[in-house]
Subunit: 129 residues, 2 copies
DNA sequence: CATAAAGTCTGTAACCGTTACAGAGTCAAG
DNA sequence: CTTGACTCTGTAACGGTTACAGACTTTATG
């Protein structure tokens, strides 16, 4: 199967598929006589895996590791857990950070009483150290 | 004042200061005979403004606009409000998105009962479309 | 069978906001 | 005069794509 069909089946953009192969996330593909990439079912599965993991915010490095763990069925799944936990932790940190930004922004924003730029409390607040 | 002192006073890295000037966020600087950039107080204030706005997650484009609004004291501060609101809105969206990722990750993660990779529910879940 | 249209290839650059580095020049203190 | 700290320019890297340009191949239509 060629890249267009792989793209339709996996949901990944064509350019992204080529990119994944280039950076070693996706297994190398065979090539047709004319140089076209040939995809097999396991490529589609990998692409779906990558897509879903990306949607969940995993980095390509994480995904690379998850895919390589997947190849070793006898290993304990502790490593998988740990990657997942670390990622979840990172997400929670980002949420906390964004929440504190939102609080600060609301505070600053609430101080505006709708006059002219000269008396704008928002700009004033942003200028403070 | 030279860039080192501007950096110390503003809290921005030297490289970042030069970058801000290059992309037109920071006002152009005068140059000494030997080509060194010369900073005045208003540059320091701009840099502090930029730094604080960046810490609050505003994009450089937003900041460019905020700084240009700041130069027009007679305008209504509605434009400032609207940039702030839009940014706050974006942050809330990102929070919601991250929260849904976190929920999904917890769900997936909870399904793991600690066996081998072969039966790993996390990897299985990630492989599903 | 010729041609047009769609698909694919490679290589390169753009996006954002920095940061880092190389190699050259400048300035102040000892 | 030399050493060290500072600054300059230009370029490339980071992550994760996406978007080209220009060449080639395959498929569909006349």
């Amino acid at each position: 199967m060629k890249i267009g069909e792989a793209s339709r089946l996996s949901g990944c953009h064509i350019e992204t598929i080529r990119y994944y192969e280039r950076v070693g996330i996706l297994s190398p593909t065979a090539r047709s006589e004319s140089g076209y990439r040939c995809y097999a079912d396991h490529h589609i599965q990998q692409l779906r895996f990558i897509l879903h993991a990306r949607e969940l915010g995993f980095s390509l490095d994480d995904i690379r590791e998850l895919l390589s763990l997947k190849e070793q069925p006898d290993l304990s799944c502790q490593a998988v857990d740990s990657i997942t936990e670390k990622h979840l932790h990172g997400i929670r940190n980002r949420i906390r950070h964004l929440e504190s930004l939102a609080r600060e922004l609301r505070r600053i924003s609430a101080s505006c009483s709708g006059g002219h730029i000269a008396e704008c409390r928002i700009l004033e607040a942003l200028g403070k150290p």
